[in-house]
């Protein structure tokens, strides 16, 4: 079903042929409101058609935005708003001159239209600019900083934009400025737009993908524009939207991390992440504050002379050929590849340090008095991870070996290079896998420092992510490792130990010896359950017992192995495996008492193992339900339990030993988390 307004397409299909006719000498150019000569269609947004026109009265080019079949009752409101907007004059804002209503006569059919008269800018919007010119990060950031000035100026006048997005920033060839366009016109006035996209006043919302959570609920404010600005800049720098545009409320609130984070220039990550906070109070207080933060971390070299970035490819009819957008920040270096700066009192600009090849000897150690938290982590670390839980139990106990090189820049932003050297499963890589990323340092409630970062070791487009979260313990770092084979759910989790120097000692596989937040991340299923565990148990210095995690997040996706196993059993496709050493080996670890959460309900399980077959008693914690179940383990250590036939209870499928994670039931599926009872 098309989301573009049908009346817009109708208008476009009427106007287009008419203009071709004019070009062929048939008929006169269409005249709007007896004043504007329509000359060419420029674009079609979701709500209005943009047309280049000539204002016969003032003898200048204008851009008209046409809204066919507007709601009559809202026209006056639009005109009032336009009057306010018309007072905005700023180099980085495309001026809106007027709003009026008329009937456009095309081919004898009068078409009622609200139209907005705007300054005409003969340049591409940022989206088209990036697609065609491939500017590097510095130029993109400069463009956004400039457009941000305009937006901030509007905020200071009490005017919100409501629809900040890359398509609403245009690049003006005349004054080489990035300018923001389409203010306040989230009040779109179309007749047959998608009903769900309107607020209670019949006004269409802004573009959902860029909208702040509170704006989606109709409470737009200054920090909503800030949010949209950050989403736009993020997208333009990384090529990915930080949030899935289809994400509902809960996802926005509980997003584990933003897409594309590893492609972001590390220096800008903290400021942008803050601006993307779900809670407006967590964001910067104003756009001006965000701009200042970004500007401080984006070191532009002084411009010697305006160098043209890209020359147009010959003289063509298109608007952006032959134009030079001389934003500073030009040059070969892109932020992600800039060499880490040496830390000295007189901070050297990154460009003045020769880029170091990866795996080169370490730079000189940092000065003794740390300026910021990140500095105590700089240098080289050897890291070992050990798998505690995996979708395929083959991996349990396997160790991974890494090297981590960390450095800070003058603004205390941490960047890191992770190299995976090998693993105890005896895999050798033809060449080591390497990834760069930003890392973040946070202080926990107990004052402890935590260092976290996410790395993609298998190429840009693959979703495989390694997330490390560690804290100092003596001279070492300890913590947890979470591995995502696909983008939305962990496929392995484990413990991490890191040390400086040539070797790391063996990882202590006893989870109870790991820091409490790491235990939460490994044992609890879902971001909210983990957060609750950290804030309720760890903060009070408690220890996680078998009951340490409360109910899993109901919407946490189960491991793929468990999901597939469950689906196979319910559809009758599962075949019992012939008992083999492998499944016997896995099954041995499963015998005994368990504590299980099935969705929101806590249960107990007593498992008896016979070869690869399982049998057990499942009991609700309050004793209200008890029933027998039988099942089996397969060679991947994935296991299921089927209630005896007379019992109306769901089938369970889980992967792993302690914890075991999975799902129950066919549809809807409840998440399952099981811990060995001690």
């Amino acid at each position: 079903m098309p989301t573009t307004d049908n009346s817009l397409v109708e208008l476009e299909n009427l106007l287009g042929p008419h203009l071709v006719g004019v070009a062929l000498g048939v008929g006169a150019p269409p005249l709007l409101a007896n004043r504007f000569r329509l000359e060419g269609i420029r674009g079609r947004g979701a709500r209005g058609l943009v047309v280049k026109a000539h204002d016969l009265r003032l003898a200048r080019s204008v851009a008209l935005k046409l809204y066919p079949y507007p709601e009559q009752t809202l026209i006056a409101e639009a005109q009032a708003e336009a009057r306010t907007l018309a007072q905005l004059r700023h180099d980085n804002i495309v001026a809106a001159y007027d709003v009026d209503f008329t009937e456009l006569d095309l081919a004898g059919r009068p078409l009622p239209c609200l139209f907005l008269v705007m300054e005409y800018v003969d340049g591409p919007h940022v989206r088209a600019w990036i697609a065609n010119e491939s500017p590097h990060a510095g130029a993109i950031i400069d463009a956004f900083l400039a457009a941000g000035e305009g937006l901030a100026a509007a905020h200071e006048r009490g005017i919100l934009h409501r629809d900040v997005k890359p398509a609403n920033i245009v690049l003006d060839p005349k004054n080489k400025a990035a300018r923001i366009v389409d203010f306040g016109l989230a009040r779109e006035l179309t007749r047959d737009g998608d009903a769900q996209r309107t607020t209670q006043y019949g006004l269409t919302k802004g573009t959902l993908a860029y909208m702040a959570p509170e704006a989606r609920r109709g409470r737009t404010e200054v920090r909503s524009d800030l949010f949209s600005f950050a989403v736009s800049l993020w997208e333009c720098l990384t090529g990915e939207l930080p949030f899935d545009p289809d994400a509902g409320e809960w996802r926005l609130a509980n997003q584990p991390d933003f897409a594309g984070a590893n492609k972001l220039p590390p220096a800008l990550a903290p400021a942008l992440r803050r601006a993307l906070s779900y809670d407006p109070d967590q964001r910067q207080g104003s756009l001006r504050e965000l701009l200042d933060e970004l500007r401080a971390r984006h070191q532009t070299r002084p411009r010697r002379s305006p160098l043209p970035l890209y020359l147009g490819a010959g003289a063509t009819a298109t608007a952006f050929a032959g134009l030079a957008y001389a934003f500073s920040g030009e040059g070969a270096e892109e932020h992600p590849r800039e060499a880490p700066a040496q830390i000295r009192d007189d901070a050297i600009e990154p460009a003045e340090v020769a880029p170091e090849p990866l795996h080169a000897p370490l730079p000189a150690p940092a000065p003794p008095a740390p300026r910021c938290d990140g500095e105590r982590f700089t240098g080289r670390w050897r890291l070992t991870s050990q798998v505690l839980w995996a979708d395929d139990s083959y991996w349990i106990g396997v160790e991974g070996f890494y090297r981590l090189d960390l450095s800070v820049d003058a603004t205390c932003a941490l960047s890191a290079t992770l190299t995976r050297v090998g693993d105890s499963g005896n895999r050798r890589y033809a060449r080591p896998l390497v990834a760069d990323s930003a890392m973040e340092v946070t202080r926990a409630a107990d004052g402890g420092l935590w260092l976290a970062g996410e790395f993609r070791l298998w190429g840009d487009s693959s979703p495989k992510r390694h997330v490390f979260t560690v804290t100092p313990r003596g001279d070492e770092l300890v913590g947890d490792w979470i591995f995502f084979e696909t983008s939305d759910r962990p496929s392995m989790t484990g413990i991490v130990r890191a040390a400086r120097g040539a070797t790391v000692g063996p990882v202590d596989a006893e989870l109870a010896h790991s820091p409490c937040p790491s235990q939460c991340r490994i044992l609890c299923m879902g971001a909210r359950a983990q957060a609750r565990c950290v804030s309720e148990i760890c903060a009070t210095g408690g220890q996680l017992g078998a009951d340490g995690c409360s109910a899993p997040d109901l919407d946490a996706p189960p491991p793929i192995g468990a999901q597939d196993l469950l689906a196979a059993i319910y559809s009758g496709a599962a075949e019992s495996e012939v008992a083999s050493d492998k499944c016997r080996e896995h099954a041995r670890h499963l015998a005994g008492p368990w504590r299980v959460w099935q969705g929101g309900a806590a249960q107990d399980l007593d498992l008896v193992v016979d070869g690869c077959e399982l049998s057990g008693q499942i009991r609700a914690r309050d004793g209200s339900i008890a029933y027998p179940a039988t099942g089996a383990v397969n060679s991947k250590g994935q296991w299921f339990l089927r209630p005896s036939p007379e019992v109306q209870a769901p089938i369970w499928a889980l992967t792993g030993r302690d914890p075991a994670i999975g799902a129950a039931g066919s549809y809807p599926r409840a998440p399952l988390v099981a811990h060995r009872a001690r």
Partner: protein, 175 residues
């Protein structure tokens, strides 16, 4: 300037403008897509006036195809020669994700085909051309045209597991 109201616009232009527009919109950014529509129609009308064409539709779409391939070829960097049999209209220069709504998802899958596959698919399923007409427009043998259409359909089915190619054709036509 005396406006001639209701000047009779050639039905040929009236009918084909929307079709060419959605064809170009699916491959070329605004505002250039509109210029290409205009250029195509102007060239076609000129030729149409000069002589009688055997198959005007194939000729019109042949111009459109030629213009879009020339446009895309002109936009790519000097180091990567555009080859419509291999490259899609979204070159490596397209760095932005456009995953906003269902129609965009469908259109982006379409745009990720090779240019030839995309055009063959659109002409056949979007414009209702037969195999033979597609072949004539694209200057291919009928067997090759058929193969391009099939490749397009299969690849779309892989990219969009829960959409049929007909849904994609609908999305294309609504543009």
């Amino acid at each position: 300037m005396q406006p001639q109201s209701n000047a009779a616009i050639d039905p040929l232009i009236q009918d084909n403008w929307p079709k060419l527009k959605r064809f170009f919109r699916a491959k070329v950014p605004e505002p250039d897509c509109y210029e290409l529509v205009q250029d195509t129609l102007m060239e076609f009308v000129k030729k149409h006036r000069e002589k009688v064409l055997d198959n005007p539709r194939a000729y019109l779409w042949g111009i459109a195809r030629f213009k879009v391939l020339k446009y895309i070829g002109g936009k790519r960097s000097a180091t990567a020669e555009f080859d419509s049999k291999i490259h899609s209209v979204m070159g490596p220069q397209t760095t932005l994700s456009v995953r906003f709504d269902r129609r965009d998802k469908l259109m982006n899958a379409l745009r990720s085909l090779t240019a030839e596959q995309q055009i063959a698919f659109e002409l056949h399923y979007g414009e209702g051309m037969t195999n033979e007409e597609v072949a004539q427009t694209m200057e291919l043998s009928p067997a090759t045209a058929k193969r391009r259409i099939k490749e397009a359909r299969e690849r779309l089915q892989i990219l969009l597991a829960n959409s049929s190619h007909l849904e994609i054709a609908d999305a294309y036509r609504s543009g």
